[in-house]
């Protein structure tokens, strides 16, 4: 089942063309990894999906992006962002307590019942593999957590609003290998219930967790295929060069 | 429900955002509304160029040239004193002072900026005025010079803080480049940093002068308030601002005198507008 599809997508920031003629279909319950060197447009693509690019005044786009057969520009933007959550490159807790970080989204979407909020916070933290570590320190500032814990808090925070799709923007770029492993483990479990798009600089990470992998280069989609295929027999020479570390 | 609430709040935010434009317009309109009436009885030329200000004689003579010159003399005097000292102090704070002293100095400058002008006027009356009288053997110490000195102190905080900002924001590598060529610290300041910060310093000077022209209470308390064309800086003068402050209390609402004071207000508004727009252009380059 196709969850999200982008057709003939072109994006500019001011006069600079960032993405050119992108056509991608993202299936439900898969992990799609997007790899490519920096400035290849992969983060811009990701931010397109929940319309965070709209925050940049010079942003312009052409083509269309459909979420469950509706043009994302026709969906109420807050609802869209609830459905398509995002985890950022650096752990980015809100300046609130651990509990309030997770409860924030629920409250913003109108949930007032304290008991339900508590339950959902616990559930989300459990899903994010953080509950056991923080269950006794929920009222503490989220900034007191370690980097890896903060990132899992951000995942839990995203899960709490019950999205369909989760976008990960280089979620492990600031983390040590052990924390990275925990985040990856969480992603693999989450795949059962959610659709995941993972942008990563780390080619090996894409190989470890991605069902399919897309390779972006200079604003173009070079290749999109099953992860094994991309890593063993890519059809484009540039993909091979990048994976082997010849550039990027 | 939430949507409606947010819609209303965002409209309110927009309205408040426009409030400053609204108030500037409102000030200008109300000054014009009251001030332009004076030109029914006196031409703009006679008003600005007339050398006699006798607003309560019959018929009133409404020439503000003495007041303009009074403001000019005091302002020029204050500028001559405050510009070199203010810029010098800014350079010292930005470039030379060690970090801790720098914080203390900045706090001192902020302190000066915070002292109400009526207090500075009061202090000037008690200390400076008798001093000027004694030093120059004058019949009164309430002179343009006393006003200039006191006003210089009110301009300095503005000049120092804005000029210091400008000096501070000169890119570090300019300085490093000059040092690398073997220039001394002073040569670097004089030949590299000051020129690079010149626009900001110019803006600082203009805003300082703007503050001086608009200053009212201290000036009224120590310049003597004689509405005659000043022949030296050691005589009493009367400024535009002091005239309004001193006479509005007695002017009958709707009288020619009342309108004339508003017309002076227009002159002041236009001057401050011109200074602020120019200074802003200096700081931001484009409109």
């Amino acid at each position: 089942m196709v969850k999200i599809s982008a057709t003939k997508l072109n994006i500019w920031f001011g006069e600079t063309s960032v993405l050119r003629n992108i056509n991608i279909e993202i299936y439900a319950n898969e992990i799609l990894s997007i790899i490519g060197p920096s400035n290849s447009g992969k983060t811009t693509f990701l931010r397109m999906l929940n319309r965070l690019n709209d925050l940049t005044p010079s942003f312009k786009m052409q083509g269309e992006v459909m979420f469950e057969d509706t043009d994302i520009r026709k969906i109420n933007v807050e609802l869209l962002r609830k459905k398509i959550g995002m985890v950022f490159a650096l752990p980015l807790p809100l300046p609130l307590s651990i509990f309030d970080n997770v409860a924030y989204g629920l409250r913003m979407h109108g949930e007032r019942n304290r008991k339900r909020i508590r339950e959902k916070v616990k559930q989300a933290l459990t899903q994010g593999y953080l509950w056991d570590e923080v269950k006794d320190r929920l009222p503490e500032s989220a900034f007191k957590l370690s980097g890896g814990q903060q990132q899992r808090l951000c995942i839990a925070r995203t899960l709490a609003v019950e999205p369909d799709v989760i976008l990960f923007d280089e979620p492990c770029s600031g983390l040590d290998p052990i924390s990275t492993a925990k985040v990856e483990e969480a992603m693999l479990k989450l795949k059962k219930e959610y659709t995941i798009v993972l942008v990563t600089n780390n080619v090996k990470q894409a190989a470890r967790v991605g069902d399919r992998t897309a390779f972006f280069l200079s604003g173009e989609l070079v290749e999109l295929d099953k992860t094994e295929k991309i890593f063993t027999a890519p059809s484009d020479r540039r993909t091979d060069d990048y994976i082997r570390g010849k550039f990027g | 429900m939430r949507k409606i609430k947010e819609f209303l709040i965002e409209k309110l935010i927009l309205i408040c955002g426009l409030a400053s434009i609204f108030f500037v317009g409102l000030i200008f309109i109300f000054l014009l509304k009251e001030g332009l009436a004076v030109f029914k009885s006196v031409s703009a030329f006679a008003f600005l160029g007339g050398s006699k200000w006798y607003p309560i004689s019959e018929p009133p003579q409404l020439g503000i040239l003495p007041l303009i010159l009074g403001s000019l003399v005091v302002t020029v005097g204050a500028a001559i004193i405050s510009i070199p000292i203010g810029v010098g102090c800014a350079v010292y704070i930005a470039e030379i002072a060690p970090l801790k002293i720098k914080e203390v100095l900045k706090a001192g400058i902020e302190l000066l900026a915070a002292i109400p002008s009526v207090v500075l006027g009061f202090i000037g009356m008690i200390t400076l005025v008798p001093l000027v009288k004694k030093v120059f053997h004058l019949p009164t110490g309430l002179t343009a010079l006393s006003g200039s000195i006191m006003l210089a102190f009110m301009a300095m905080p503005t000049i120092v803080s804005i000029a210091e900002d400008a000096l501070y924001s000169v890119p570090k590598n300019y300085k490093e480049g000059a040092f690398a060529l073997g220039a001394t610290h002073w040569q670097t300041i004089y030949r590299v940093i000051l020129p690079a910060a010149s626009r900001g310093i110019l803006a600082a000077i203009m805003l300082g002068i703007g503050r001086v022209i608009g200053e009212t209470m201290a000036v009224m308390m120590i310049t003597g308030n004689a509405a005659v064309i000043p022949k030296s800086i050691l005589v009493p003068v009367r400024t535009l601002t002091a005239t309004i402050a001193a006479e509005m209390g007695e002017a009958v609402v709707g009288s020619e005198h009342y309108f004339a004071l508003f017309a002076i207000g227009i002159v002041l508004f236009v001057i401050s507008f011109a200074i602020n727009v120019t200074a802003d252009l200096c700081l931001h380059e484009r409109i």
Binding site: L94 | L12, F23, V24, A114, G121, M217, M248
Partner: protein, 283 residues
Amino acid sequence: MARNPYRSQKIAFFCLLLATLFIVVPVGMIVVVIIKKGIAGITWQFLTDVPRKGMRAGGIFPAIVGTVYLVTGAISFALPIGLFAAIYLSEYAKGNFLTRMIKLAIVNLAGVPSVVYGLFGLSLFVVFFKFGASILSGALTLGIMILPLIITASREALESVPASFREASLSLGASKWQTIRHIVLPNAVPGILTGTILGLGRAAGETAPILFTAAAFYLPRLPHSIFDQVMALPYHLYVISTQVPNVDEKIRYGTALVLVFLVLVMNLIAVVIRYQFRKKKKW
């Protein structure tokens, strides 16, 4: 003889130091003199009694109360408008001509001479709206005068909240206003507070705007409503130092000290808040 660059540097730095001392030493002296001479005049009676014998004796209580009323009124008018205006500029405004005009208007509003505010308040509030010379007219005039200060300080505070917080909040599906209300504003409070307090200090010290809009020459009782005239500290100091002959020096310095104390305490509070905030900043 060739100029020795190190000697000219020494001379130049000495001159710069001199310039600095030229400002700092008088400031210190002014403060010291006011405190030293003023403290003799400060008694419980001085602070709580009405002026007597044509202001040559008694206290300054009505002037203190008047100033508190005027300042409170000014801030309750200017803070909401100023804060919303700052939110507009920091969160909503695009980099267009309108924004440029708003910023220019703020700069101009900050530069309008205080006596011109007085004229404006007189013609708009006192005469046009028929509020008369009253607390209301004076407070509104002062409020408009401190508006640019509050807008500028609040805007800086709002803009110093990292953009990433806004993104994180928006990405959870919070609306723009929710993000401002729950994430941006709470983290900008110290900066807004600092600006507000500085505005208070400014409003407390200004005389010219209230000359014709609010201030009473001599009114030895407390105001009954916002349509009453009031005495105010800065105007009272002006009156007893220029309009009334033979006022005891103790009373004049005492009044100056109370006024300076009020203004400086507010500035000090602002500095402390700013310092505390910087120290425990979380990001």
